[in-house]
Amino acid sequence: MRDDARNLAPLQKTARWRRAELGFWLLPVVSYFVFPENLLLLSQIAITGLFCLSLDLILGYAGIVSLGHVAFFGVGAYAAGLLASHGMGDPLFGLAAAAASAAALGYATSFLVLRGADLTRLMVTLGVAMMLYELANKLTEFTGGVDGLPSIDVRPLFGRFAFDLYGRTGYWYCLTVLFVLFVLARRLVNSPFGLSLRGIRLNVGRMPALGTPVNRRLSAIYTVGALYAGIAGALLAQTTQFVAVDVLAFPRSAELLLMLVLGGSGTLYGALIGTSVFMTARYLFSSLNPQYWQFWLGLMLVLIVLFARGGIMGGLRSLMQWRRGKVQ
């Protein structure tokens, strides 16, 4: 007979796929047929969703604060873009190269990031991203600077599906990559490894006593986060066939944080929902009132932090609990 501490049933329950999740993944498929004119926007949402997911892994699950996550996105975008503009435009090869280079950078910088406390981490992540931005901005003969990489030519996917102007191939490509990586991330966070990360976030002093190598775990998840971000960057480069220095710019990191808190950090779906809501809202509002969109953005951030720290997922969860309470 197992005692309670050994009872893993609640953990196994969260690891099982629920019906609502299947419904959630039907949405992008339905959107393809309902909004055929907006496929480019939908692809952007899928890409940014993946990027947001990568931040969620390191911030929401492991509690590593980062203001410079854009560094990995940018490295991935440049890796894929450079390959494609030098005649090696196979998309999957580009993804692999982007993932490898972003992960290598993530692994190397993880040791810098792990040295300090929150504030130092903020500054080091920011500093690394800014250094890369400056490098990309100055090495114009290599990166094209603000004008972007010249002549990015992405080959058809599997040699058969060319990337068309309407973004049909691009959309399915991004969506499939997002889904596959999401499933992997889902397994990861529900694995003992993922649970140890949550333990580290909740009580970093206690985890070594349980035998968890804290720094090794953190540097591993930071690398995974970087890898995901790199793939997101590569997707952007390949589907838009354009890479300029703004893939490394600071506002992208800040917006990403906003999307994550909006959806609710520490839940994988929060990252995706936050991104979808944010990007759709920006699409709708910026055409109405472009100049003051920023103001409402800032206000939204302030209000979320003050009153709705759980974001949309937190709101949904308390709604569910309230309903369950009423039924009983």
């Binding site: 604060v65 040295r115 504030l119 400056e134 920023q294 951030l301």
Partner: protein, 285 residues
Amino acid sequence: MTVVFDGIASGMLLFLISVGLSVTLGLMNFVNLAHGAFAMLGGYVCVTLLKHTDVPFLATLPLVMIVLALVGVVLEKTLYRRLYAATHLDQVLFSIGLMVMSIAAAHFAFGDNQQPLVLPAFLQGQINLPGVDVGIYRLFLVVLGLTIALSLELLVRRTPFGAKLRAAVDNPRAARGLGIDVNRVFTLTFALGSALAGLGGALGVEILGLDPGFPLKYIVYFLIVVAVGGSGSVKGSLLASLILGVADVAGKYYAPEFGAFVIYAVMVSMLIFRPQGLLGRTVAH
């Protein structure tokens, strides 16, 4: 030599703006990314006073500080206070929100042009010494910066208020138990930090310029100063500002092709070797 002097002067300006942040972030442990917004507001108050009234430049500075202190008190009592106990991440998000709002508000109120500022005649011009060209305004900044650094250091180390502040930061519960009104101490400190930010912003118009993008453009520099200088250390901030000022000016002068790369490289390497900052205090939390 001129490079060194200009570097010191620009470091001093950096210090003047970021010492306010060193007060709120360093002493009160609040990551206030909206600090640049306070500095920008100071700049706009100064420019508006000069444009619409006859107040001379030097007299606008105390006015700027008073206005900003009041703004600081209001914001502290309504918003910031709720987040003292929050995580650093929440504080970052909250203050990024405030910063973005301030940028949009400045766009709306002042347009996106650079604001002109004419210095009074006695602050213009240069003194030419052998080997060094000393801008009078820059000299003024250096003197003012040193004065403020000294008075702040005295305020924090030698006065009863400073003692209360240090007690309130290190252990708010025990400080309350000793009859210190911690909330009031924090409000006053925040007001002081905002006033200093405003002063720095007003002084910086001449060198850094003033447009709605100001908070975002320079926040990195202010944060670097505080992070590198070490939490809550006036001396550390001063030292860090000077190092960064000289490195920045020298970098732009000798290796312009690297641009701001130098300053980030300096920051990252400093933080790697001294994660606590140059003269950081280690506070037990």
